[in-house]
Symmetry: C2
């Protein structure tokens, strides 16, 4: 398959590129290093430096004999993206090219505007590039479970049939996100759904939960092929923050009551899911939505896991409750469906004690690089 | 009241400005003449030329002794809009500053991109300008009934309670629009709802149907104060197109089966609705949504009205069915609620034969200016 990956430098983008290339697909990645730039500007550099995309591609080719073609460019520039789609004629486009930080999107006008502009333009340009240059291409868009928020009813996979005053119709499941970043993904969905039903393009929207993990079969070939690891308050997930805090002997910072429950998954499962989606396209004129996570747990339950495994390993792990910098429900109902990807063949990797231990060991290799100033919340939702 | 009107040069913006000024309010309007520019570029000039905003304000001051302050500027430029909100400290901001043409938004990549950029940025900037400079201000946003599309269930006023698997929650009523323009208004709603619940601003979203009419008490003072009248395929509504066709002796162009049903209202009622919304703010942290129309009818029923009144006046009125350039249901269920504005005190003006006759007479004054080339559809939804 010819696979084009937008945002190929990211935590998911680079492992996805290697994963498809290692399976014999023809892979092109594009990235403008937006995340690296923002990380530098906001003192949120990752735990270890990752090589440039060209360097990574060179290292990967040397150890695996598989090629990843690299383009440094901005998907918000239509000529760039349209030209790339025309030249590569992708069968699958995996779209990760979004500013992915919720706190960054809530920092101030400028960061909010950048998030809105970048995410909407990249998505809009992709829809148009596919319509104009490769109308059969299957767009695999990374959405987020955060688009749904935490409603009081069960979360279905993307759609819901509403029975109202004796009549029925099917609609997108209501979305109500907790940050501007997550809201831009809601807008992305609205936009893609419009172009799917009007121009007949085909899209899979993967509503993903927070991802953890570093090792993949390809990154095992050379440590320089590891994806980036952000533990800061801007780009770091709660899992990564807790891992870094446990290793550095800083208390785990639980925001508010800690009952915030989300669906999580291992990086290995993201790769499986994207591959399964690519191998099973929905068909033209279809917007298929799949909820992409393997298990749900609360922040408190996650802290417990880190404490149990960390202490067993001799780490000094404590918990510190912080005023919640976000505006979110801290105790809530949460029952999202996630059967679609299992039906396609997903074999879940759960966050077992062994996996947690391996994650902690990996982070321990870089213990001296952990900067405590980066882990406390620097952005509040409401000033 | 201090009232700031964004898009004050438009078909609704200018009459709204005069309406509030005539009632003693302190009115400022801003406009960047985007509609005039697009009309010029697309050969869609209105039936008669309207003076510039400064000229209109001067004429209105001379005949009424009421003042409208005019600013020519772009709401997509944050410094401009923020400065204006800071300086005027509005109690009410009426937001009409959007590219309002569905066909224009479906013309090509460039026009779609302009529509997305303009509409989202103006709305986003307004939310931020209010948050940063006038957090108590009441934003009255013109939405459109077109955001809902034509679902198979009754359309409620903005919100719906969903009873699902034995649990309940209330959500925005599902939106599924028929053009990119209408989709940008869906995105506007998503954005404003996010900032309402996160920063506690107060917003009324008026989900308006197509508006017809020209005369208001203020425009009666001087013909040069009439709002613009577009009968072209880009900016003209189906009502205006039929009026121009009836007067020019061109068959009324019905798209497809003509069963497309929408909620319509008189310009006088738009003015009432906006005034009622302004006089009854929803309160901070509230997004109030009101469906703004007074009666529903199909395109075929509208054509019948024009034929009956037009023939009675001696006009030669015929109908011509055209292949539908749009992608829309041509026969569908349509039962939208619209009680909120009636409860606030709206006194509807219906499209009676007398009103239709008056509209036809007004257009007859400009009969010679009608250009038949402008009325046939020049944009198809799918090439």
């Amino acid at each position: 398959m010819r696979v084009l990956i937008l945002g190929g430098d990211g935590y998911l983008g680079w492992p996805t590129a290697m994963h498809f290339a290692a399976r014999g697909h023809e892979v092109t990645v594009i990235d403008n290093y937006l995340r690296r730039t923002i990380a530098l500007e906001t003192d949120s550099e990752p735990l270890y430096r990752t090589p440039t995309l060209q360097e990574r591609a060179e290292i990967f080719a040397a150890v695996s004999n598989h090629k990843v073609r690299v383009v440094i460019g901005d998907c918000c520039d239509y000529d760039t993206l349209r030209g790339l789609v025309r030249d590569t004629q992708p069968e699958v486009v995996v779209h990760y090219a979004e500013q992915p930080s919720a706190p960054y999107s809530m920092r101030d006008y400028g960061s909010a505007r950048l998030t809105l502009d970048n995410n909407l333009k990249a998505t809009f340009n992709l829809a148009w590039a596919v319509i104009e240059e490769a109308p059969q291409a299957h767009i695999i868009k990374l959405g987020t479970m955060g688009e749904y928020g935490t409603p009081k009813i069960d979360i279905e996979e993307g759609w819901i049939e509403i029975d109202h005053k004796g009549r029925k119709d099917t609609f997108l499941f209501p979305r109500q996100a907790g940050s501007l970043y997550h809201t831009t993904k809601v807008l992305d969905t609205d936009l893609l759904w419009f172009y799917v039903r009007t121009f007949g393009i085909q899209v899979t929207d993967l509503m993903q939960g927070p991802v953890y993990g570093l090792r993949t079969p390809e990154s095992e070939l050379d440590d320089r092929l590891l994806p980036n690891f952000h533990y800061d308050d801007i780009f770091g997930t709660v899992v990564n923050r807790f891992l870094a805090q446990a290793v550095a002997g800083i208390p785990l910072t639980v925001y508010g009551k800690g009952g915030q429950t989300r669906g999580y998954l291992n990086l290995l499962d993201t790769l499986q899911c994207v591959e399964l989606a690519a191998a099973n396209p929905p068909g033209t004129g279809q917007l298929r939505i799949l909820n992409q996570f393997t298990e749900t747990f609360s922040v408190n339950a996650l802290a417990e896991k880190v404490i149990n495994v960390g202490r067993h390993m001799g780490l000094n792990v404590e918990v510190q409750a912080l005023d919640n910098p976000r505006k979110e429900a801290e105790e809530h109902y949460y029952n999202p469906t996630h059967s679609g990807l299992l039906e396609l063949g997903l074999q879940p990797n759960y966050l077992t004690d062994a996996v947690m231990e391996d994650l902690l060991k990996t982070v321990m290799c870089y213990k001296d690089a952990i900067a405590p100033r980066k882990v406390l919340p620097r952005v509040r939702w409401k000033q």
